[in-house]
């Protein structure tokens, strides 16, 4: 089916998803690997065994192995028979005052039920998608956070799976200055793992470094979309600045080179979390999707980090 189209009588649903990326080989389904998409699609397949085809997921941010998410967004299309199956009340006694969940709520509950208690991936919300909604192509922006505990920060063992611990002290003001220099529309080839046929031109809308109450450095970054490994590369550039190895202005200069250099290292995935995906108002979803498709290659890089 094409963009925004579902089968006759079918409906599209939006899923809001959170995961601890530690034990996943990233979002995208891969043979013989445990992936977020793979786990969720397996749950969906088991719900709809008797009403094929098994639904597939389209996602806003195709996160790499080890990257976490608190606000990932995906969509799936269900056929008329699949919607009917969800709407049918399940067997068993109802307690007094019981209200049947909506179709969307029923879907989220059943997926979470299959994933099990204390799962490392959870569906936080499920809703029928507005007209023209495409989780990937309708998205206006993605935001991420990168967490670093240097020698000045309190290193909380309870957060160690999502925080990079670095020895030494980082100059947070220099890092913030360097980050601001990257804002705007640029070719980020110096900060991207190149992919054949993919553009590396992106608009960096926000990028700041601050310390939280524990002194942990939080890099907040937002762009229309990110090329592959781009967040971890620009964060790595900032760390090189924070360590005094690069001048803050150097990160902006590297943009002109348009190729990867050895000035900095790409940071590990564990410190990175996809925070939110932004969409335009409902009436502009379809137009936004068409615009995004026109700007990027058919199987493009939107949101891959």
């Amino acid at each position: 089916m094409g963009a925004g189209e579902t089968s006759p009588g079918g409906r599209r649903f939006r899923l809001d998803i959170a995961y601890d990326g530690t034990r996943f080989t990233g979002w995208s389904r891969q043979p013989d690997q445990r992936t977020v998409q793979g786990e969720l699609e397996a749950a969906l397949a088991s719900i709809f065994t008797s009403t094929p085809p098994a639904p597939t997921l389209a996602v806003a941010g195709r996160t790499d192995a080890g990257v976490h998410a608190v606000g990932q967004v995906a969509h799936l299309d269900l056929t008329r028979a699949q919607v009917a199956k969800l709407a049918r009340p399940r067997r068993g006694k109802r307690p007094p005052g019981h209200v049947e969940p909506s179709t969307a709520e029923a879907l989220a509950r059943r997926v979470n039920g299959i994933l099990g208690p204390s799962s490392d991936v959870v569906v936080h919300a499920c809703a029928e998608a507005p007209e023209g909604f495409d989780a990937r192509f309708s998205a206006e922006w993605r935001s991420y956070e990168y967490r670093i505990a240097d020698a000045l920060a309190l290193r909380d063992p309870l957060q160690r799976h999502r925080t990079l611990w670095l020895p030494g002290t980082l100059d947070d003001r220099a890092m913030d200055t360097a980050a601001i220099g990257l804002l705007g529309l640029h070719d980020f080839a110096a900060y991207c793992k190149p992919r054949a046929g993919g553009t590396t031109i992106r608009t960096l809308q926000e990028f700041r470094w601050t310390r939280d109450a524990d002194g942990v450095l939080i890099g907040r970054i937002r762009a229309d979309a990110f090329c592959h490994s781009m967040v971890r590369a620009v964060a790595g550039g900032c760390v090189a600045v924070g360590e005094g190895k690069l001048e803050p202005g150097r990160l902006e200069e590297l943009l002109a080179i348009r190729a990867r250099t050895n000035d900095f290292v790409v940071l590990p995935a564990k410190g990175l979390t996809l925070m939110r995906v932004g969409y335009p108002p409902d009436g502009q979803l379809q137009a936004r999707a068409l615009l995004t498709r026109a700007k990027r290659e058919p199987d493009g890089l939107a949101g891959a980090v």
Copy 2:
């Protein structure tokens, strides 16, 4: 050595410690088990191999298997030879502007260095202890948090190792009312795993249930000390109230029974974190330690949860 005494020329140090309890069989050293005390004392033993005896730790809150800590406090006594060993600058070139760390800082750095990067136990601070300080017996109070995500809460997979996920919706106001009913000086035998010769009389100074920004229920509790499994028992009582199985006033009534009942279940360790230990002003440390020892049995229950 007795309370507050160190060997001639020796010194006592206070350690502030945080850990993720998931992979530990609790605080207290046990043969063939991975414990927090065991890991820390092994690190200390390796630092002082050439200057025995290996230091041992006395702790404020002897947490159970699976319980976490952000503000645990322990002390250890070093001999004159051990202090001298720490004060001696280590071999190797110093960068310009290098300032030698204090003895206490050097101890924390070396322990953390042995524990390794991204360890599940970290020494947050080390300082020479004030006169009369005893991590366990000088403590005036311990505070804990219990985290529960019910059906109303956003279940964050990144926090799942320190949050109990419960199905259904808990009545947080009823839980808070029940908690308040337990405040004050009581015999908490109805909420304690009994230990021979141990008193179960405690003063509950604070106990409230609130929801955080994600709707996660946070039980904040503070007492002079806790009996074994007491926090998880009173939290379990509150959950039974929140589920509508018990009236809020029932928890207070249970105190009069002075024995364990089947009205509620003791909650799992994973939701529990030791937050802080409170000490009196420096001048009152010794007096407080004497008072605590007089009130409790020699090898008592202070702080075991």
